[in-house]
């Protein structure tokens, strides 16, 4: 096996990992701060892709879709938190799980009713069509763009959480909500925003994935499993963990594709089993 191919493969893995990171991050933030296992995350990813497509077709520009859809769906996420999830705080962890599972069903079916059950073409933005020679091989420009954008979003997130007052409250709230309340912080508002942020990230992942895959109502179900795996390998609630694990899973998949391609899907589950059996709290997780 020549080095060029392996380098190329490594690169494909990073591009694949970028989408995984952005989706898993949303899941991880929601779990880490709110303790909610969001089973509708895959469906929201899919809704994000449709929303992006819808906005893009209204405005005639992919860029509006990319900007507006995550905000739109993020706002929708806030409504979900306020109306459906909020009554469940204080109950067992199973309740939000069951609720979001039901919500996933509803969202998928609603999209089928509105947009039909066949897929819809999501064209690559004209500026990003084509391939570029990386020296080791040809790579689609669009995928390079995705890597770049994900890095930008991660930077913004990091700045937001580490350098702002709101970020401080969020981090403290995740550790001890009661104290925050005693200190006079409206923790409900924080949860609202965090849930919206997590959902917005899922939607962003969906819009970004749209031009790479066809957009269809079932596109979220595999993504949900992938996002869970990444989150758990990284350690639930750990943002750094999601990033490292996302890249790790992406690279593991692409390397498997080179040496044992038919195992490319199962490898992430095998990786998760191995990691958890050796380190039960995930790579960057804290022990409960």
């Amino acid at each position: 096996m020549d080095t060029e191919l392996i380098l190329m493969q490594l690169f494909s893995g990073v591009a694949l990992g970028a989408i995984l990171v952005i989706t898993a991050l949303g899941l991880s933030i929601i779990f880490g701060m709110l303790g909610v296992v969001n089973f509708a995350h895959g469906a929201l990813f899919m809704v994000g892709a449709y929303a992006g497509l819808w906005v893009a077709s209204l405005t005639g520009s992919f860029w509006w879709g990319l900007l507006v859809a995550p905000i739109m769906i993020g706002a929708f996420g806030m409504i979900i938190e306020f109306v459906l999830v909020r009554p469940l705080y204080g109950r067992s962890i199973d309740d939000p799980l069951l609720l979001t599972f039901g919500l996933g069903y509803v969202l998928v079916e609603a999209v089928r009713i509105i947009f039909g059950s066949d897929g819809i073409p999501f064209p690559t933005p004209p500026q990003l069509i084509g391939v570029v020679d990386l020296g080791v091989g040809f790579f689609p420009i669009y995928r390079l763009f995705v890597i770049g954008l994900v890095i930008l979003v991660l930077l913004l997130l990091w700045l937001g959480l580490e350098k702002t007052r709101f970020g401080l409250i969020v981090r403290a709230g995740a550790r001890d909500p009661t104290i925050m309340r005693v200190l006079g912080v409206d923790i409900g508002k924080v949860w609202l925003v965090v849930f919206g942020l997590g959902v917005g990230l899922a939607a962003l992942g969906g819009v970004l994935a749209g031009p790479m895959r066809s957009v269809n109502p079932e596109m979220g179900s595999l993504v949900l499993a992938e996002a869970f795996v990444v989150t758990v390998i990284g350690g639930l609630g750990s943002l750094l963990g999601s990033i490292v694990a996302g890249l790790l899973v992406g690279i593991a998949i692409s390397m498997t594709a080179l040496f044992a391609p038919e195992m490319a899907t199962i490898v992430m589950f095998a990786l998760m089993a191995v990691v958890l059996l050796i380190r039960p709290q995930g790579l960057f997780g804290k022990l409960a």
């Binding site: 199973d94 039901g102 069903y105 509803v106 079916e109 499993a225 195992m263 958890l276 409960a288």
Partner: protein, 330 residues
């Protein structure tokens, strides 16, 4: 298991039971079996009734681990599927008599549960859920690849049981009524077994672990061994359901091992009510009935089923049967 002498009374569920719930609890096995006898005459079809039996047993077996021990597994499809596959392979490829094949299926599924349980019961919380999911996906993958044994994605077939010998009589197993009542005996056996387990000192031990693991440990319970035993017993019951499903459909689809199946088992259990003996069975019944009725009515049945889930969680968090019991207390 630790010494039964130490079996402290269950710390939870010390609500004062009314006469209705007391009666329901005392006669739960005979009452359940009576309900099962009537089931095929109340449902739209006999094939659906058998499916309710199958998934009812899965959910009750699963609940031994989930509702009573407090461990949320996402991997029980593996044991359900193992039971089905082993039974099918034993009959179809080795010509083993059906009853022996059923026992092999239960044992095989139980052994798999013992292995997976041994690896996973040391992890906690959501991580436990995820390792069980991952290992079950590996089982799915093995079944997909071992297609000369399992039929791969095409599914396992070629083991139709058309006649069976029972108590010296030959019974036409293709007849839906006969099939239902034969498989019902297995379901009754499973319900009885679960009830016995729950009434034993071991039953008290698992509930103690669910309520407070640290206290249970201080009380002298061997928490790890107890969890492993609960996991294995739960896997055995699910494997039994798998063998029933194989006999019923004469076909094992690969999907049976998929994590969607595990998810469905969890949802059925929660829908019926995880804190009650018969709740999961009711959950399976409600889930399958909803799908059956609504899917005939509209191809958008998923939106109805999904909405019902949401309403249930918001307004009936104890599940169907749990809520019914609660109302009966008053």
């Amino acid at each position: 298991m630790s010494s039964p002498a130490l079996a402290a009374p269950a710390t939870a569920s010390e609500r004062k039971p009314s006469s209705v719930t007391a009666a329901l609890a005392a006669y739960r096995v005979p009452l359940s079996i009576l309900a099962l006898c009537l089931l095929p005459w109340l449902l739209p079809s006999k094939a659906l009734a058998v499916n309710v039996l199958v998934y009812g047993v899965v959910a009750v077996g699963y609940n031994l681990l989930f509702g009573y021990t407090g461990l949320l597994s996402f991997g029980h499809a593996a044991f359900f599927g193992a039971g089905a596959y082993i039974t099918g392979i034993a009959i179809g490829q080795f010509g083993v008599p059906w009853l022996v094949a059923v026992f092999l299926g239960i044992l095989g599924g139980g052994a798999l549960a013992f292995i997976i349980g041994g690896l996973t019961t040391r992890t906690r919380g959501i991580y436990f859920s995820m390792v069980t999911l991952a290992l079950a996906q590996l089982v799915y993958y093995v079944a997909l690849q071992a297609s000369s044994w399992t039929g791969g994605e095409n599914g396992l077939r070629g083991f139709t049981v058309d006649k069976i010998n029972l108590f010296g009589t030959t019974i036409n197993f293709l007849d839906p009524i006969n099939k239902y009542y034969v498989l019902m005996m297995f379901a009754a056996l499973a319900l009885w077994a679960v009830s016995r387990i729950l009434n034993s000192p071991f039953g008290a031990a698992i509930e103690a672990i669910r309520e407070n693991e640290r206290r249970a440990r201080t009380c002298g319970y061997d928490v790890e061994k107890t969890k492993l035993l609960a996991f294995t017993l739960s896997g055995l019951i699910c494997a039994l359901a798998g063998t029933m499903s194989a006999l019923h459909l004469a076909f094992v689809p690969l999907d049976v091992l998929h994590y969607h199946t595990s998810g469905m088992i969890v949802m059925m259990t929660l829908l019926g009510g995880a804190r009650s003996f018969f709740g999961p069975f009711v959950g399976a019944l409600a889930f399958l009935l909803m799908e059956d009725v609504f899917s005939l009515w509209t191809s958008h049945w998923q939106i109805i089923v999904g909405s019902i889930f949401i309403l249930f969680v918001l307004f009936l968090p104890r599940g169907l049967w749990g809520t019914f019991l609660e109302k009966a207390v008053r």
